[in-house]
């Protein structure tokens, strides 16, 4: 436990000294906030509270970029093998990644909520406890997705390619950019397989309709299950040495990380009400379109 905390402090310290980190986890999310709140929602409080779900989701989703790249760089540079000499296990190394990322994400989320309230006078963010639960699980889920990526890539470049391949579907098919109900029906039925969709829809539920936590059960289950699965897979695939290459078995295991989302997505398509939820949140917002001034 003490080891995890020591490593967490180290990762936080290094993150604060890294300009790229500050850009991606503070400047970019705030840019999203002003783009979505000020331009897409035209600063209209009700519309702002609708897009806030997407803004928070994007903030949290960014986790997997930084984490995967940092871990791969640490391995490439031989930093991990130095740590390996000390009494540190892969579990502590990975847990400290998740923890430091989480501790550094929360302030950005709080800042975004406060700014939305002050600038655009958003009256309420609904069920704040629900927001907290979903943000926590979302940060852990996307960070552990980053750990999976790091466990199957060898170089920084490879990691960038894989991250892009994951990032774009998450961005455009989940409702984090284009509102989910505006996507064609078949794209929506693909979208429900994505963890990002669970996060965005869940956040809309708790923020717009003050849904109690138990009502976003499937979303919570998806994020929590995804986190645990990804964490254990990446722990068993963990590599300390730069020259240790990825085995075929490892790639299969990493690919298996999609299983929880496949199961939940199939269930959603058959019985779930995620698409309806997304639709009613959207309708509720556009029923009273902002005045033309």
């Amino acid at each position: 436990m003490k080891t995890i905390w020591t490593l967490t402090k180290l990762r936080m310290l290094l993150a604060m000294r890294n300009r790229a980190f500050i850009f991606f986890s503070l400047v970019m999310p705030l840019a999203f906030l002003f783009l979505y709140g000020g331009i897409f929602a035209r600063g209209e409080p009700r519309a702002v509270s609708y897009v806030m779900a997407a803004v928070l989701a994007l903030t949290v989703m960014g986790s997997f970029w930084g984490l995967s790249i940092q871990l791969v760089l640490f391995r490439e540079q031989g930093i991990l093998r130095r740590f390996r000499l000390a009494p540190i296990g892969p579990g502590a190394m990975l847990a400290s990644s998740l923890l430091s990322n989480y501790v550094l994400t929360v302030p950005t989320v709080i800042l975004e909520l406060l700014l939305a309230r002050w600038i655009w006078k958003v009256p309420s963010f609904g069920n704040l406890w629900g927001v907290f639960v979903l943000i926590t699980l979302g940060a852990l889920a996307f960070a552990s997705l980053g750990l999976i990526v790091a466990s199957v890539t060898n170089t920084n470049q490879e990691t960038q390619v894989i991250n892009n391949a994951i990032w774009f579907p998450l961005l455009f098919l989940s409702g984090a950019t284009i509102p989910f109900p505006l996507l064609p029906a078949w794209v929506q039925s693909v979208g429900v397989f994505l963890p990002a969709t669970h996060l965005v829809t869940g956040l809309q539920q708790v923020m717009l309709r003050s849904a109690p936590v138990w009502q976003v059960g499937p979303e919570i289950l998806a994020l929590a299950g995804g986190t645990m699965f990804c964490f254990f897979v990446s722990r068993s695939l963990f590599r300390w040495e730069p020259e240790e290459k990825v085995t075929r078995r490892a790639k299969l295991w990493a690919a298996a990380a999609v299983i929880p989302f496949l199961l939940l997505g199939s269930w959603e398509n058959a019985h779930g009400k995620m698409r309806q939820d997304a639709r009613s949140s959207f309708l509720q917002t556009i029923q009273r379109p902002p005045e033309l001034r």
């Binding site: 020591t6 180290l10 290094l14 540079q77 031989g78 000390a86 009494p87 540190i88 300390w240 730069p242």
Partner: protein, 305 residues
């Protein structure tokens, strides 16, 4: 003092390449033990197996009575190491790095004492990225000792450093030796092995080809004492080769290089021969055998080829 490192018939291959093929040796507590050999001889692989970083394919390894692969955290608390091909995060300060690693262990040394000892006091707030090669290596040594280990592994601790920095590192290692730490050192520098090691294993192509104290190894070497002489007038090589105990004679840069099995007898014979021929000895130099000669004799190659 007891045996603290045992290696028996150790084997390790990387695909078709057999890096280590049956290495065996023992190190007693408090000894400085050197693995001497050219690059690619299997030194690093051997050491990394002992550190628990690599899994052997065959053979038996014990460090402090523990199997490095199964010893877990208890094993890691007993050892300290300077690795090759490693780094620390660039934006980590020297004092932070020492404190960080100290935090992983229950038994630890005091920060300022470590920094003073390794001459890093005025660098304590410098980032890792700002350190020179020698400073990085001193920091690596400080980190290797942060947990008061019983065994310290130093893998090519002076490779790539300039001579002055290398001597600084030697001083540090000699100090550790006085503290009775057990040190396992790999090197391809002869002078390092001769100066620092109590025991040396010469290793080539994944095997130990000679084992002993530096003096023993040199004595074992035959024909390697060389006598270099300048003469007033030239003499035929063949005549000099016939002198007592001489095995070989060559001319280089106007000097004669005689290899002798028994130098005193050779010198007496040489002087008598020259007197008889009315020739004169201008200078005489005895070149004692070095570990390099031993290595060439055993392998037919120079160490740094």
């Amino acid at each position: 003092m007891g045996t603290i490192i045992e290696v028996e018939n150790l084997k390790k291959s990387y695909g078709p390449i057999e890096a280590v093929r049956g290495v065996g040796f023992e190190v007693r507590e408090g000894q400085v033990f050197g693995l001497l050999g050219p690059n690619g001889a299997g030194k690093t692989t051997t050491v990394e197996i002992l550190e628990g970083l690599r899994c052997p394919d065959g053979g038996c390894v014990r460090v402090c009575g523990l199997d490095p692969q199964r010893g877990g955290h208890r094993f890691k608390q007993e050892i300290g190491a300077v690795l090759q091909a490693t780094a620390l995060p660039e934006k980590l300060r020297v004092a932070e790095a020492v404190n960080l690693f100290a935090d992983f262990y229950p038994r630890r040394r005091e920060l300022s004492q470590l920094l003073r000892r390794f001459g890093l006091e005025d660098k304590r707030t410098a980032f890792y990225s700002q350190l020179s090669g020698g400073q990085r290596q001193r920091l690596a040594l400080a980190l290797a000792l942060v947990n008061e280990p019983r065994v310290v592994f130093l893998d090519e601790p002076t490779a790539g450093l300039d001579p002055q920095v290398r001597r600084e590192i030697y001083d540090i290692i000699e100090e550790l030796k006085r503290e009775n730490k057990t040190i396992l050192l790999t090197t391809h520098y002869i002078e390092e092995a001769e100066r620092l090691c109590d025991q040396v294993a010469i290793i080539d192509y994944g095997r130990v080809i000679a084992l002993g104290t530096p003096t023993e190894l040199k004595q074992r070497s035959q024909d390697t004492t060389r006598i270099r002489v300048h003469l007033a007038r030239p003499e035929p090589d063949t005549a000099l080769r016939d002198l007592e105990a001489v095995t070989e004679c060559r001319t280089t840069d106007g000097a004669y290089l005689l290899q002798s099995r028994r130098p005193p007898q050779t010198i007496v014979a040489l002087v008598k021969y020259l007197e008889a021929r009315n020739n004169e000895l201008l200078s005489l130099e005895i070149i004692a055998p070095s570990l390099e000669d031993v290595f060439i004799e055993l392998t037919g190659r120079r160490l740094r080829d």
